[in-house]
């Protein structure tokens, strides 16, 4: 039979065990981001244009191909890098040239960046280039945004006035099929 002192020791141990489990399962709280600030998150997965234009194959070239692989055009797989720029209140926040993914460099270019900023009104400018600078296409070339006009070195530019609340998460996405930058 344990002595009263041993019982007391057990009670102390069990109490410490319970308090330790309960406390550290919730406390102390951790501040991951400044609660007075807002967050802007820029993210997209977008494939740049093909690095080289497709070339129309001649009749002889088509004839040389195995019957199951005959096609009218020869297109390279490699895509150009996508360059993106984010400006907030006239100051450059982010600029990057994003290489295409994949061994053959034929995949999407990927962006995922988060920025903390003060809450309140801001002037936001997002710019993106996903083609060889200045390249133009004939109407109906079949590529999203191929008919867009270049604005300097960019073929997509989006300007917006934004009002950010503390702790707000503002997401900026790029979707060529939806016309360019989207703000959520």
């Amino acid at each position: 039979m344990p002595s009263p002192l041993a019982w007391a020791g057990q009670i102390v141990a069990y109490t410490a065990f319970g308090v330790g489990i309960g406390y550290l399962s919730l406390y102390p709280a951790y501040t991951h981001r400044d609660p007075e600030q807002a967050q802007i998150k820029l993210s997209f997965a977008h494939a740049g244009a093909r690095k080289e234009d497709c070339r129309r194959l001649s009749y002889e070239e088509i004839a040389k191909l195995p019957p199951g692989q005959r096609r009218p055009h020869d297109c390279s797989r490699e895509r150009v890098p996508v360059t993106v720029e984010l400006e907030l209140d006239g100051k450059l926040l982010y600029r990057a040239t994003l290489e295409p993914t994949g061994h053959a460099r034929d995949g999407v270019s990927v962006a995922y960046q988060a920025f903390m900023t003060t809450a309140g009104r801001h002037e936001l400018v997002a710019r993106l280039r996903d083609d060889v600078q200045g390249r133009t296409y004939a109407a109906g070339a079949g590529r999203e945004g191929a008919d867009r006009k270049w604005i300097g070195e960019w073929n997509y530019v989006h300007r917006a006035q934004i009002e950010l609340a503390p702790r707000q998460n503002l997401a900026i996405e790029f979707r060529a099929d939806k016309g360019g930058f989207l703000i959520h």
Binding site: A13, R167, Q168
Partner: protein, 520 residues
């Protein structure tokens, strides 16, 4: 004394404080593995209950948990709290278990399997915990989801960053949530499988803690659940930054580091540390004693060695040498830790045997029974003084050097149960010493798992080979003090010698008469 040795002594002192309150049988430090199993089952049972009422869709998960927690607080609420707190307790005992096995050097040799399987168990426990917090889909879940997916994106193995699933409310879908529900069920099943492999090499593995300890820890978690129930934080909202979160520090202790350490570096750190843990059993200093050997000419197939082996290293198989016995012992050298408990159990391992060459049916190459008899005779022949005591001690507990004094000789074994009881009879009946003192690890915590218990049973006549009834029990003393309590062994040895001095003369003359005669 090295740093690790000092740490071990400090650790044993801490455990000693618990032994004083709980006793050796209930000491939670001696039951960490069994407690891990106990908490696992609590988590499993409460998890099954919660799953019955949980809505596995991301849009309704939070609300369904709120209903479980509040509408049926007396059942679902308590179950949820127990689910969380038992999970936390599992991390606590798992961590302590790992530190303890390292400090007590119980990871080398054939014990590598238990150690190595422990490493994926850590990952499985943390994956199960993280996915569990994900399913609540509150602000903490949102934080966990974003940080975790951003961490995985650092591997650059996905076509698109998976963190984009949590970019804004419009990006949220059931896809990832369903995956997490699946992982939260499947990963604990894998954990159970590895837990089974973890104990595969141990005979009579302890997977249930003593009833009293189970009641104590279970009741503590229940009281905690009632007083401080686990609840959700604010519902997740991807339009809002989870700026301040209340972390479960048992599972999410590494998460704040992601704000300071680049994510690829976090991969290097976590995978690097796991690899280091996996390699530990083979890092220097390497200690691998040769496995026990069977001598068929002396083995009668009694199976006592197989029954006593704590690591399932001995099996009995049909006789292969034509001798008229049914079975013979066979040692799996890959599983033998060279504790010598088998030799201590062998009926042929007796120093009384009158053969030119004493060979036991099963023996340790590094300390054969013949060598043990030779060391016993050499040690006792040097004994002088009125009260001569021979100390048999194990290599993992009490420091035998601290017991050295005039009139006391020591013989070290790999485990105290490697000592056949007939040696005690041999020493006392042959007047090689006036008393025999057995010492080693702490009670309830034998380095070789069952050495102390088998010794106790052999001395009490409850387990073969028995200590013969003719041996005067007052001339035998056992002290299970361990490394940190060597001073206790020193005190008990002095008290034992005082008792011996007061006893009636032993066979072969009184101690005083021997002293006068200069008896050697």
């Amino acid at each position: 004394m090295g740093f690790k040795q000092r740490l071990r002594i400090a650790w044993e002192r801490l455990e000693g404080a618990f032994t004083r309150s709980f006793g050796p049988a209930w000491n939670p430090f001696f039951q960490l593995g069994a407690l891990g199993w106990f908490f696992y089952w609590i988590v499993a049972v409460t998890g099954i209950y919660l799953f019955i009422f949980f809505d596995t869709g991301v849009t309704n998960a939070y609300q369904s948990l709120e209903e479980i927690t509040r509408a049926q607080w007396w059942a679902g609420g308590v179950m949820r709290s127990l689910h969380r707190y038992a999970s936390d307790a599992l991390v606590v005992v798992m961590t302590l278990h790992m530190i303890r096995e390292y400090l007590l050097d119980r990871l080398r040799g054939p014990r590598w399997l238990a150690w190595v399987t422990g490493v994926p168990m850590i990952w499985f426990v943390f994956i199960a915990g993280v996915t569990g917090y994900w399913l609540v889909w509150d602000m903490l879940a949102q934080y966990v989801a974003i940080v975790t997916t951003e961490w995985f994106d650092a591997l650059s193995i996905f076509g698109e960053p998976i963190a984009r699933n949590f970019l804004s409310p419009t990006h949220l879908s059931d896809r990832f949530f369903t995956l997490m529900v699946f992982a939260h069920i499947v990963v604990p099943l894998f954990l159970l499988l590895v837990m089974w492999i973890h104990i595969l090499r141990m005979s009579d593995a302890r997977i249930n803690p003593p009833k009293g300890l189970a009641i104590g820890t279970g009741a503590t978690l229940l009281v905690l659940s009632l007083v401080f129930p686990a609840v959700s934080q604010a519902p997740a909202d991807l339009a809002v930054v989870p700026a301040t979160v209340q972390l479960d520090w048992y599972y999410l202790n590494l998460y704040p580091l992601f704000d300071y350490v680049p994510r690829p570096v976090m991969w290097v750190l976590t995978v690097g540390f796991s690899t280091f843990l996996l390699l530990l059993p083979w890092l220097p200093p390497r200690r691998r004693a040769p496995a026990a050997l069977v001598d068929l000419g002396n083995c009668n197939g009694c199976a006592r060695c197989a029954a006593d082996c704590p690591f399932n290293a001995i099996t009995m198989r049909p006789r292969s040498d034509g001798l008229p016995y049914e079975q013979e012992a066979a040692v799996d050298s890959g599983m033998c830790v060279a504790c010598g408990i088998c030799a201590g159990a062998c009926p042929t391992a007796t120093p009384f045997r009158r053969r030119a060459l004493l060979v036991a049916g099963i023996d340790l190459p590094q300390l054969t029974v013949r060598e043990l008899r030779a060391r016993t005779l050499a040690a006792t022949s040097a004994l002088r003084g009125p009260v001569r005591v021979l100390v048999y001690g194990c290599a993992h507990g009490t420091r035998l050097a601290a017991l050295q004094q005039p009139g006391v000789a020591t013989v070290e074994l790999s485990c105290i149960a490697a000592l056949p009881p007939s040696f005690i009879d041999f020493v006392l009946s042959g007047d090689h010493a006036d008393g025999v003192f057995l010492t080693g690890c702490r009670e309830g915590d034998c380095h070789h798992r069952q050495g102390i218990e088998w010794t106790r049973q052999r001395l009490a006549g409850e387990r073969d080979p028995f200590l013969r009834a003719r041996v005067p029990r007052e001339r035998l003393h056992c002290c299970w003090s361990g490394l940190a309590q060597t001073a206790v062994a020193v005190r008990e040895l002095s008290a034992f010698r005082e008792r011996l001095a007061a006893l009636a003369p032993a066979e072969g003359g009184t101690p005083a008469a021997r002293e006068e005669a200069g008896h050697a």
